[in-house]
Symmetry: C2
Subunit: 299 residues, 2 copies
């Protein structure tokens, strides 16, 4: 992250009807066989490859929205694996934006899917080997521990939803508690506790928190409760968040936060005009510099 002078995470949530034209053309032109799902999944993987080629140098990670791959079925899952490998070959971390949360035995199965492998009578089946996953904490600590344990074993991480970026987030997450604070404050406490055993370089923990860019006042308050936590901050761009209002995320230093941007980069050409790859690079470079400069001036 520091070597690249970037805290920018490239969000990839590919919509088969809005891929970069070159990605769709690549699969349409050859007359290659396959079902619509297979064609669409190949085009999605090619789109992700093109976007990573264009802007990967500006970024430190990619965040893959699982829903966008799952809707293409088995071929979509193959595209997810291909994109994961491709991003890692480009020295990018892969954050599986899965928002999973389930009881212990099922959480352990998700850990096998995303971090580990599944023992079978036919030999072990490797998961997608993500570097991090996003997780939903509604089911409590015992639902997160199997993911964290598995992540920790391989030097990966878990980002727990604490305060999301969507308009309806406050409906549950900001409910006021009898004992003071709100649900999201309590989730922050859970994250701090779970991360204590996993403090790494820069004094930062391997259990991170997702906090939306759209509510800078809450981000500042939650950062005070989470001094050792890497914040993954979505919501810049299409959802209305501004990099300039995010200074508190870098209170622990430049490694203290990751800014995830999806549509504002991938669809930059709709706003800026011109070639998709060039527009994406321009926007990614601008966002990378804005975040880095903010982090250096904050620390």
């Amino acid at each position: 992250m520091v070597a690249r002078e970037s805290q920018l995470v490239l969000g990839l949530d590919p919509d088969p009807d809005r891929l970069w034209p070159a990605a769709t053309a690549a699969d349409s032109s050859g007359g290659s066989p396959g079902t619509p799902a297979e064609h669409a999944a190949r085009a999605v993987a090619e789109h992700c490859r093109l976007v990573i080629d264009a802007v990967g140098d500006q970024c430190v990670a990619v965040k893959l929205q699982l829903a966008c791959f799952e809707r293409l079925g088995a071929p979509g899952w193959t595209a997810l694996q291909q994109t994961t490998q491709l991003a890692q070959q480009a020295d990018l971390l892969v954050i599986a934006d899965a928002k999973r949360g389930d009881i212990d035995i099922s959480a352990a199965a998700y850990a096998q899917a995303f971090f580990g492998e599944t023992p079978t009578p036919f030999g072990p089946v490797a998961g997608i080997a993500a570097d991090a996953i996003t997780a939903n904490p509604l089911l409590g600590t015992d639902s997160l521990e199997p993911l964290i344990r598995s992540a920790r074993e391989r030097g990966a991480g878990v980002f727990v939803l604490v305060r999301t970026s969507n308009p309806g987030a406050e409906e549950v997450q900001e409910l006021g508690l009898v004992d003071g604070g709100s649900v999201s404050d309590r989730l922050a406490g859970m994250v701090a506790r779970l991360g204590q055993a996993g403090l790494g370089e820069h004094g930062l923990a391997d259990v991170g928190a997702v906090v939306g860019a759209t509510i800078p006042d809450r981000l500042a308050a939650l950062r005070e409760q989470l001094p050792h936590t890497i914040l993954l901050v979505p919501g810049v761009g299409a959802q209305g968040g501004m990099v300039e209002s995010l200074a508190p995320m870098f209170a622990p230093g430049p490694a203290g936060g990751l800014i995830s941007v999806s549509r504002a980069i991938v669809a930059a050409h709709h706003k800026l005009g011109g070639d998709a790859a060039e527009a994406a690079l321009d926007e990614a470079a601008r966002l990378r510099a804005a975040a880095w400069n903010l982090s250096v001036s904050t620390a």
Copy 2:
């Protein structure tokens, strides 16, 4: 449900190392080619087929734990689709136990994955066509609406997590609120509101609630707040819940609740001895009768 005199949901969370012996043998013996993931996924699909064959007549639905399929990658997703189709051919409803919850645009993508189809330049890609999905409400109403809208269009349903069955559930779900009640009470209110537009036969809504069998006192209290809601109740058996303590779920009548049982049926032969299929049928028949008799005596 009434025609079958059953409220029993067969939970399928297949572990490739604990499949019924005949399922593993079927794929091992033929010397068929494939990767470990392909072999394991075929064995998982065969296991699900055998279990459905054995106990399907006692049940009204199957609940498929997505984590168990995802950990086998693309072949696992194929097994998920095959099992969905097979269960529906056996006149069983399919509940995708996905516990998804994401911001609006991603929730819409999950709706395409589970209920609808995804438009692509290569033609539409069908999702798995589940009859219901489980959903996590931490992100609020706007994260649930795309799933509910899509479900409602095709006569399917959404079961929202309100109070889960795991030991750590109370950590977040039972936090006391300044305005009275707990988080789970508030989630129940959300479910009631979201279901108002989808009241169907028996006066029951198409937005259901997941409430664990392990906390019968909370189940009774939440039922009072949710008089028109179908409760999906996991946690009977391996997690310690007892059918006999669940009478309040049937307050609206026999169609008011579904009892989901996984390991207690599929692994019944570990406890009862004998053939896996026979033991599963014995246990499923016992549970079906216990639930039906309870529902008839409650109503």
